[in-house]
C-alpha cells in the first residue's frame, strides 16, 4: 500500500483513502458542442499510457474528498510529487533527469 501526499491535507496518507481518477491535464473544452469528431476522440478516448513519468488525477475520496494531481513513475510506481487541482503542470520535477 502506497503512501500518497495529499496537497490539501498536507501530509502523506495511506492509499486506502484514495482513488485513482485517470490522466491529468486533459481539460474539457469550453466549446464542447463544436468539437470535431477527431478532436473529441483525442479528448475522450486517447490516453498517453507512458512507460515512466505520468501525470494523473487522484481523489482523496475517503479523506478531504479533493481531487488533485500527481506525478508518478509507472516503472517504479513511485510518486514524484503531488499538487492541487488547477495548478499548472509542473515544468521541472524534483529529482528529474536521472
Amino acid at each position: 500500500m502506497l503512501l500518497i501526499h495529499c496537497p490539501y491535507c498536507e501530509e502523506e496518507r495511506p492509499e486506502l483513502e484514495f482513488r485513482h481518477a485517470g490522466e491529468a491535464h486533459i481539460a474539457r473544452p469550453t466549446d464542447m458542442a463544436a468539437m470535431s469528431d477527431e478532436d473529441f476522440e483525442k479528448f475522450f478516448f486517447i490516453r498517453s499510457n507512458p512507460k515512466g513519468v505520468i501525470y494523473e488525477r487522484w481523489r482523496h475520496v475517503h479523506g478531504c474528498a479533493r481531487f488533485f494531481n500527481a506525478v508518478r513513475d509507472t516503472v517504479t510506481d513511485k510518486f514524484v510529487m503531488t499538487y492541487k487541482a488547477g495548478e499548472p503542470q509542473p515544468k521541472k520535477l524534483p529529482g528529474a533527469g536521472k
Binding site: 502506497l2 503512501l3 495511506p14 481518477a21 474539457r28 468539437m35 469528431d37 473529441f40 481531487f67 487541482a85
Partner: protein
Amino acid sequence: MMQSFRIPGAGRLTPAKTMRFTFDGQSFTGVAGDTLASALLANGVHLVGRSFKYHRPRGILSVGAEEPNALVDIERDAARKTPNVRATVQELYDGLAATSQNRWPSLSFDAGAVNDLASPLFSAGFYYKTFMWPKAAWKSFYEPKIRAAAGLGVAPDQPDPDHYSARFAHCEVLVLGGGAAGIAAALAAAETGVRVILCDEQAEFGGALRFEAGAKIDGADGWAWAQTAIAKLSAMDNVRLLPRTTAFGYYAQNFVGLAERLTDHLASPDANAPRERLWQIRAKRVILAAGAIERHMVFADNDRPGVMLASAARAYLNHYGVAIGRNVGVYTANDSAYAAAIDLKKAGVDIAAIVDLRDNPSGPLVEEARALGIEINHGRAVIRTGGRLRISSMSVQPKNGGGERKIAVDALLMSAGWTPSVHLFSQSRGKVAFDEETKRFLPGIYAQDCISVGACNGTDGLAASVEEAYAAGAKAAKDAGGKAAKAAKPKVEASENWSRGMLGAAPGAGPDKIVKAFVDFQNDVTAKDIRLAVHEGMRSIEHVKRFTTNGMATDQGKTSNMHGLAIAADTLDKNIPEVGLTTFRAPYTPVTFGAIVGHARGALFDPTRKTAMHGWAEAHGAVFEDVGQWKRTWYFPKPGEDMHAAVNRECRTVRQSAGLFDASTLGKIEVVGPDAATFMELLYTNPWQKLDAGRCRYGVMLREDGFIYDDGVVGRLAPDRFHVTTTTGGAARVMNHMEDYLQTEFPHLNVWLTSISEQWAVIAVQGPKSRDIIAPLVKGIDLSDEAMPHMSVREGRICGVPTRLFRMSFTGDRGFEVNVPADYGQAVWEALWTEGQKHGACAYGTEAMHVLRAEKGYIIVGQDTDGTVTPADAGLDWAIGKKKTDFVGIRGLTRPDLVAAGRKQLVGLRTNDPKIVLDEGAQIVADPKQAIPMKMIGHVTSSYWSENCGRSIALGLLTDGRARMGETLHVPMPDRTIEVEVTGPVFFDEKGERLNG
C-alpha cells in the same frame, strides 16, 4: 517410548513439564518448550513423511522455517485441521495430534514409493512431456490423479471456526529478525525513544544463539544475554515485541506484512482469542536481521531420515536437550559442522567420523575436534548413504575417486555453508550482488529506507554482526527522528566464525543416471534434474526453476536455490551471476487465508445496509433482496402466498387503492449555492434554470460519451437549492461524477454538494388513495391538485416531524414520496400504514415496483440500459434541453455511431401467447428458421407478468425498434421459440390519466 534421546542436563527445557502428544496415532511424550520435531527426535522418531513425487521416506532436516520435509497435519478437531505444518515450527502442546502426509496406507509402507523405483520415468519436465494427449484428459483425468498422488496434506472440509485479527501499526524502526543482530539493533533504536517493533518467527528471541554454545556477550552466555535484553526491551513503552511473528512480505514505502501466530502453540486456546493477527506495519526505517540458512550437501541419498543440517542437530542438543543419534557421522565443507560434532561429542554422543570435502581444514574448531579424538577424513566425500527408513551407514571415498569405505552411523550431519537470507531485502526491490570471494548473494543496491545487518548482510561472526547491528539501530532511529542514544553497546566476548563452504553438487551426486542427490527435498528435485533441464535447452535460471520445480515448493527453496543455481551454472559453464538468481516473492513462509482475510468474514465480510423501516418490514414478513449492500424489501407475502401471488396482489392493490414502498435507498444529493441551477444544467441533459422552486423534473445524466449514466427526479427547493435523487446503485458514483466535474472542470461555480441519501428515509405512497392516506398526517402543505400538482415538492411537517414531500410517481398513478429524517422513518411509516389500512392499502416491495413501472414503460437505468444506450435509444430525447449549448455528454450525442441508423431502441414486447413470460436477457431474432449462429437483433431487458394488464409484458432493446412497431419477431429458447409483437413501451394507461386519478 520414553524420550530415550533426551540427554539429562542438556538443553534449556524443564524435563518435569511433560506433555503428551500423538503422531500417526501413536502416543509420545515431550516437554514444554519442545517443537513437534524436537519431541519426535527425543523419542527417536526421524521418519516423519514421504516425499512429494517419489514418496521416499523423509526425516527432519532443519530446526526452523526452512524445513522442506517434516510437513504434518495438525488436527485439533474436525474443523481445525491444518495441513503442511512444519514440525520444526509447531510448538508442542499437551494433547497435540499430528499425522504424517503424502503416504498410503502407512508411513512405513507407502504404495506410492513405487514411483521411486520407476523414477527414470519421472524425470524433470515429466508431466509436461507425458500427459499431453489427449488434451481433454488433462483436466478430467491426469491432473486430479497427479494431484491426489502428489498431495501435500488434506484441507479441512469444514468452515474455519477460528477468527483472525488485523492491525495497522506505525513505527520509526522496524526490526525484522530477533537474533543477536536484531536484538542489538532494537536496543540501540529503543534507547532513542522512537517507536520500535521487533519481530521474530520463533517463540523466543535469540536466533542462532539458540545453538551457538560458545557465544558470550556482556559476560553472559549468548542465549541468556538475549533473554535479558528482551526483558529490558519488553519493559519499554516505545517497544513492541512480536514473537511467533513472521515478516512475510515487504512492500512499497516500508510497508511490511507480518503474520503473528497467537494460539497454535496452546493446548486449549480461548475460543474468543484470535488464532492469528495480520500486522500491516508502516515503518520509517526497517532493519533486516534475517540471519542465514544452512545448506545441505548434495550427494546420493542425502534425503534419508537421520540426515540433518549440522546447526539443526546442534540446536536440538543445546536448546532442546535432544541427541539426534548415538553414533553420528558428519559431512561438511565448512567449520560449523565441527561445532556441532564437538557439542555432541561433549554430550556423550559418538561421532563416527567427520568427512570434510576440504583438503586441509584448519582452525580452532578443527583442532578442538581433533583434540576430542574425533576422526577427521579430509579431502573426502560421502558418496551415498545406506538404510531404508533411517540411515544406517555412509560410504566415504576420496573426492577424486578411489577406494570406498562404509561407516555405520545412525545419523548424519551435513553443512555446505550458510546462505544469507536476502528474501525480504529482495522483496523490497533491493538488488542483490554476488560476492565472488564468498560465493554468496548479498544486499547490493537498496530501493527503500532499510538496512541489512548481521548474517543476512554477509557479516561473519557474532562480534561483527552485533557491532554492525547496533550502529545501524542507532542510525535508523536517529534518521527517523530519535534522540541521541545513550545505551551501552553490547560487548561480544566469544563467538564462532563459520563462513565459506560450497555450492552445488558434491562428488557423490553423479553422474550415474539413477543417483538421487537431492537439491530440493520438498519438490524432489535432484542434481540430475537440473543438469537435464540445462541439456534440454533451459538457459535462464527462471526456466530451469519452472522446468524442474526447484525452489517452487512451500519452502520456496530456502535450502535449495543456491545449490540449484550453482549446478545450472556449472552445467552451462557459466559464472553464477550470469545465470542469475530467481526472484524472491512474498510470502516468505506460507500465510493462512484466515490471516489475510482477518475480520472480513461473516457479518463483517461486507457491510449490510438496512433502511430505517427494515425492522417493520421484517416484522411484517417481508422477503428481502440484495441490491448492492442494501437489503431491500422484495415483496410482502401473506400467509399461503407465494411470490407470484404476493406480487400480483401488491400490483393490483396499488392501482386500486394505494401501496407503501420503502424508497430510502435511492441516492440523494443536496445541491446548494447561487450557481446550483447552472451546475445542474451542465450535469443533466435537462434545462433547470426555469424550473420554479417547489417543482420537480425527471433528470437524465450522461457520461461525456453520450450514454445514459443515471436518472432520477430532482426537486428544486429554493432558487439555490436542489434535492437530487439518483438510482440506488448509482448513489456513490453519481456523487463522485458530480464532484469530479465541480472540482476540476467547473471550479468557478459557487455550488456545493452534500450526500443526504441517509439523512432522509423515503416512503413512497402510490395509488389513487395516496393523498387520502397522507392528508391527515401532513401539516402546512396544501395537497390539492391546484396547489401541489404532479411533479412538485413542498417542505412541511408530517406526524410533527419535518418532511420534504414530493408529488411524483414511479407507478403512473397518483403518488407521493415522503422524505422524513431517517430516525423518524419507521414511526412515520407506521402512521401511514395505519392510515393506509383504512383505505385497503398494502405494503409493496421492489418486485411490484418493477412491474408497475414497466407497465408504464419507465426504464430502470442499469436494467433497461447497459452503458451503451443514448437518451434517443431509450425514448428520452424529450429530456434534452434543445437550446442548451453545453452539458456533459452533449458532444458525445453527436458522435457518428450514436446518430447512425440501426441503433437498438427501447420497445415493448407482447408475446402472442399472453401467458408466456419472456426470460430477461433472451435474444430476439427476425427469422427463427435461419441457420445457427442466428443474427440477433435485440434482447429482452425487463419482463414480468402484469396482473393489471392481465398478460405478460416486456421491454427490450431492438435494432431499429421504433420502425418495427407491429412486427412479429421471435425469441428462440432452448425448448421452444416464442413469437412476440413489437409495441410501444407503455402497457397501461397510455394517456397518463391516472397521475391525477
